[in-house]
């Protein structure tokens, strides 16, 4: 099970299809457009003041980046609604590379802070130094963070993690933290259903829509399995919250 359609993160093949050659990153900053699904979307094309990004008349085309026209200004990063554009720059040092990415969470770090650089799925890759935090008005609410990372990880680090697992809710409805879920798995709850029975995660109003995949991932990580091998929780009708009145035929609106 891999690829952005199934996991939300680019597979190795998909990554290879969008990475600029390393020589280009060694020359200076360059955009990495991690857009591999033919969705009808083209704000990146207009965002580039140098005409380096082309989608063309067919709006479902994948964006093409002209590596020579791209000056690495980063204006496209905050214009991509999917937050799929990054900037890498390997020209500044022999050991470190700069990675710029859009970041729409709080809190924000301070320059020179050391943070956990994480990959496209949120897994830890390497310690990284915060170089710049740009919350400029032209970013329209999307902050652009620049991290200095070990050069060999410049195509892996795509975000950062500032919040401790104990402060992250996997299940928003029942307010069950990542730490609590990990603890439950370590104590023997090896299925999503078992975690639910132990922690209530997935018992809330949203019926586990948000947390079930996250819980599957934690179980997979803790037990060394692939997320695809973790059985999904039992789905029970109705899949949308529905009043008993509607079920009984008493409500004309449903």
């Amino acid at each position: 099970m891999e690829g952005v359609k199934l996991t939300g993160a680019l597979s190795a093949d998909e990554q290879a299809s969008v990475f600029p050659p390393n020589e280009r990153a060694e020359r200076g900053p360059v955009a990495v457009i991690e857009c591999v699904q033919q969705i009808p979307c083209n704000p990146c094309e207009k965002a580039c003041p140098f005409g380096a990004i082309e989608v063309g008349p067919d709006i479902t085309n994948l964006p093409r980046l002209d590596l020579d026209k791209c000056r690495g200004c980063g204006l496209c990063l905050s214009k991509c609604p999917g937050l799929a554009i990054f900037l890498v720059d390997a020209s500044k040092s022999a050991t470190e590379a700069l990675v710029m990415f859009p970041y729409e969470y709080l809190p924000l770090p301070a320059p020179d802070e050391i943070v956990d650089g994480v990959d496209r799925t949120g897994r830890f890759v390497a310690k990284a130094r915060v170089v710049k935090v740009d919350t400029g008005a032209q970013r329209e609410g999307t902050t652009i963070v620049t991290l200095a990372v070990p050069k060999q990880t410049m195509h892996d680090v795509r975000s950062m993690r500032l919040v401790a697992p104990g402060e992250v809710f996997l299940c928003r409805c029942c307010e069950v933290s990542e730490t609590e879920v990990r603890q439950a798995v370590r104590e023997g709850a090896k299925t999503v259903a078992a975690v639910k029975m132990r922690t209530r995660a997935g018992m809330g109003l949203c019926q586990g829509r948000t947390c079930r995949r996250l819980i599957s991932r934690v179980i997979a990580e803790e037990t060394g399995q692939s997320p695809a091998d973790i059985l999904p929780p039992t789905s029970r009708a109705p899949v949308r919250t529905l009043s008993l009145e509607a079920l009984a035929g008493g409500d004309d609106n449903e």
Binding site: R172, C173, C174, E175, L205, C206, R209, T210, T241, S243
Partner: protein, 101 residues
């Protein structure tokens, strides 16, 4: 929050203004817009408090999935206000104390 100019849907249609009651306060809303949109337009961002820690919640996903914006509408609990259209005279209450959901 109301999107006045949408790049795909165009300009916002001018709807009929109606009054709804939110935790006892009468507010103006546009008939047919999501209840959550009417509340956000008034600066009301807290729609409930969580059962376990009593923390504030409001619109999170905005597409009827996460249920963070659920309120009691005309006596019906757990109504997702982001996908429920405003009707004139609606009486809406929130659970701002947390617990008991």
């Amino acid at each position: 929050m109301r999107v006045e100019k949408h790049p795909v849907l165009g300009d916002r249609e001018v709807g009929r203004l109606v009054t709804i009651s939110v935790d006892g306060a009468e507010i103006e809303a546009v008939e047919g817009e999501p209840i959550a949109a009417a509340l956000l337009a008034q600066g009301m961002i807290v729609m409930r408090r969580t059962p376990r820690f009593g923390e504030p919640r409001g619109v999170f996903c905005g597409i009827g999935r996460c249920t963070d914006c659920a309120m009691t509408v005309d006596g019906v609990p757990n109504v997702r206000t982001c996908v429920t259209p405003v009707k004139a005279g609606m009486v809406i209450t929130s659970n701002l104390k947390g617990g008991g959901e």
